[in-house]
Amino acid sequence: MPDINEYGVSAVEQEREQFRSGERRRSILTSIGSSLAFIAAVVITLKLSPGWPRVRESFFSAEYFAMAWPQVLDGLWLNIRVLGVALVGVAVLGTSLALIRMTKSAVMFPLRVVARTYTTIMRGIPMIVTLYLIGFGIPGLDLFGRIDKAVLGTIAVVMSYSAYIAEVLRAGFEDVHPSQRASARSLGLTTGQTMWHVIIPQGIRKVAPALMNDFVAMQKDVGLISTLGAVDAVRAAQIVVAKTYNFTPYVVASLLFIAMSVPFILLNDWYSERRRKREQTGGMV
């Protein structure tokens, strides 16, 4: 029996733990030191640039920041609403497209072709072109009377993002082990029930990090509806810029968009980490 100290740990383990905590302290100090050095380098470079005072005035002016803040924040509310509606729209259309592409029955053949063509074309078109086509093309048809720019923008965002999400979801659904489908079918579940109760919930879990990443991308891309003239955060910033010839409002808009995405980025990291841990410890024995 080796010597045991008052903590119930042998002298060897105590010595090892001492060494490890020394290492930990050293690595924390190193990271603080390197971060400070990096920040100093950036600050010094900016200070040394001859044009820095002008750039600081046009992008980081406290006065214009305060002036633009309420209007841009007001505009952001539109972005949030558009995002909420687009999220539901993308979920429904994206899942439908993915499911249609996975069907095998002969009846569905034309729909399969449509879905495939749709995802191929929509992923290829730059989103701004889709926005123009929907935003200016549909009103140009003179069919529906006057439609709000924000509504048209939302439709364009949904159309564009559904194509990407459909492919991500399809990858997730196809990644579910064939035995799971076979198990469900042999319990007597119909194809539809198998999809709804087994394949979809498992497939979404498999691609959840990718989906959340696309959601963060969509969060800032809803800012593109400003190109149609809808007064969102970006457009509100643009209006102030046009009046003042100062770019600080854009920085305001950026900060707000970042603030909006941070919770989801953290959520995504947390979820991926939790899943990684679970997969490493659990699983089949």
């Binding site: 799971q180 076979a182 319990l187 007597g188 659990g282 089949m284 024995v285």
Partner: protein, 258 residues
């Protein structure tokens, strides 16, 4: 262990629960099953043996309608299940199936796994389904794990829950497709013990397996497949202990060496 499977009354179908009649299955030019015929009688346990690639899994898949036969017929009771006019979903719910692995739905608790078919296919109220499922789980000592997710269970526990799920709707036939092949050897025993118990209670079982000694002790009959044909069909004593065919002798001798 108390009674796990209530015996399904199949008397009106006669003694044969499953009848495989001249079944042919091809994948492209490759004939995997070449005019296979055998029966499974009520309360009988039949072990389907054969080297890898002999067609065991294909037989199981054809019975479970995961593969379509190219010729011949398969009868479940008095239903020709190869008849495309029959409702495949209702045939499937008359057969309980357990696969090699990934049987349980990983996003559902043990209890939801076992009750899924009752609730969604047979439209039982949740309470009724859960009461029955808890009864089944209790009998295999898994009722404490009812609220757990499958990844918290050992492989052996997962397979026993999968068998419970297959028994839930009192199937006429239980298909076990190499259910211990993906398990740690130490966990195989508990699963085989459960199968033995089901057999004693009168379940009708067709199992594909590589567990030779289990097949020998538990099965009433051995069907040995070789190159897509039935090489042997008889009692374990005839087929395994005293085989006359040299190839059959070599097959079992190879297993005895490992």
């Amino acid at each position: 262990m108390a009674e796990l499977s209530s015996t399904y009354d199949t008397s009106r179908f006669g003694d044969k629960v499953l009848r495989i009649d001249n079944v042919v299955k091809r994948f492209g030019d490759n004939t995997v099953l070449d005019h296979i015929s055998f029966d499974v009688h009520m309360h009988e346990t039949v072990a389907l043996l054969g080297p890898s690639g002999s067609g065991k899994s294909t037989v199981m898949k054809c019975i479970n309608l995961l593969e379509q036969v190219n010729d011949g017929q398969i009868w479940l009771g008095e239903t020709d299940i190869t008849d495309p006019r029959e409702n495949q979903d209702s045939i499937r719910s008359r057969i309980g199936v357990v696969f090699q692995q990934f049987n349980l739905f990983s996003h559902m608790t043990v209890l939801n796994n076992v009750t899924l078919a009752a609730r969604k296919v047979h439209k039982w109220p949740r309470e009724k389904a859960e009461e029955k499922a808890m009864g089944l789980l209790k009998r295999i000592g898994m009722d404490q794990k009812a609220k757990e997710y499958p990844d918290r269970l050992s492989g052996g526990q997962q397979q026993r829950v999968a068998i419970c799920r297959a028994l839930m709707m009192e199937p006429e036939l239980l298909l076990l497709d190499e259910i211990t092949s993906a398990l740690d050897p130490l966990l195989v025993g508990e699963v085989l013990e459960m199968v033995g118990e089901l057999k004693r209670q009168g379940a009708t079982i067709l199992m594909a397996t590589h567990e030779m000694s289990f097949a020998h002790d538990a099965a009433d009959r051995i069907v040995l497949l070789r190159r897509g044909k039935i090489a042997e069909n008889g009692s374990p004593e005839e087929v395994m202990d005293n085989p006359t065919d040299p190839e059959t002798q070599a097959f079992f001798a190879a297993y005895n060496r490992v």
